[in-house]
């Protein structure tokens, strides 16, 4: 059972990682990156590293996504003006 969960999470991570680099819409890439953070959180918990999982859940799936999105929006408005 746990093996199936690990296998499923790994497969999901591979698919999501491909989506991150292949998405044409950059904001979509950021959202997939946050989903990647959530998937790796699950993996950290399964491989008994809950300390890292807590950090990854907040940083990887929350704060870094917001920072990326904000930087993306800012640079895009400047590109449109110029």
């Amino acid at each position: 059972m746990i093996g199936l969960v690990i296998l499923g999470t790994f497969l999901m991570l591979i698919v999501v990682a491909y989506m991150v680099v292949s998405d044409e819409f950059l904001a979509g890439s950021v959202v997939y990156f946050m989903a990647f953070g959530l998937g790796s959180t699950v993996l950290y918990v399964i491989f008994s590293a809950p300390d890292v999982a807590l950090t990854e859940a907040v940083i990887g799936a929350g704060v870094s996504g917001v920072v990326f999105l904000v930087s993306l929006l800012q640079t895009q408005t400047r590109e449109d003006e110029g």
Partner: protein
Amino acid sequence: MNLKKTIRLKTLLSTLMVSFLTITLLGILAQVSGEHATLGNRLLSLNHNLTQSANAVTSVVTYFRGLDTLGEVTILFLSIFGVGIGINRSEHLHTILHYDNALLKMGARVLFPVIILFGFYIIFHGHLSPGGGFQGGVVIASAFLLMFLAEGDAYALDHKILTLVEAFSGVGFVLLGLLGVLLGGLFLSNPLPLGTLGQLFSGGVLPIIYLFVGLKVAAEITVLIEYFIRTHDARDA
């Protein structure tokens, strides 16, 4: 002609240097084997006598490698400082990624104290359960992020209090280390009574160090998020 010779000499010297370092490293690696290689097991066996912390990761981060944690916190402070210098601040700031929604506002106001409480729970139980200063601090900062997203420009932070918390916890960390010098003879040693394993008030200075680290990280990440999410109004520029 002369230049070519110097370059060749430099190449020869750097090749010699690299090969010397490689051989030394290989020699060290060949010696470190067997029981000496399992540093983790050694730290685990020392953990019960020295720190009485149920979470061995905490005792490594705040006790065995406490100086590294001080350096890490300093690096975080310096990077936030760099962001503050790099991002131009002005009077007319406006929050991006904000949508005016009454339901979102209400939900954020209800969730905000719960997330703060959870963050402090993670900090205070850092020596008992998974988590600690960094994790709890980041959780507290994410509560402020939620408020920025929900309330927008209406949500103002008191920078005086943030700066005070940040400076106080940084100085407190160093003072705890110096207290260790006075009472225990070593920087960041553990002069307080250890207590019993599994109690909330146990582990000596470990929970206090994690409290300082947590407050510092929370204040710094909150300021970082505010720097990023509040920028010039693009229409003004």
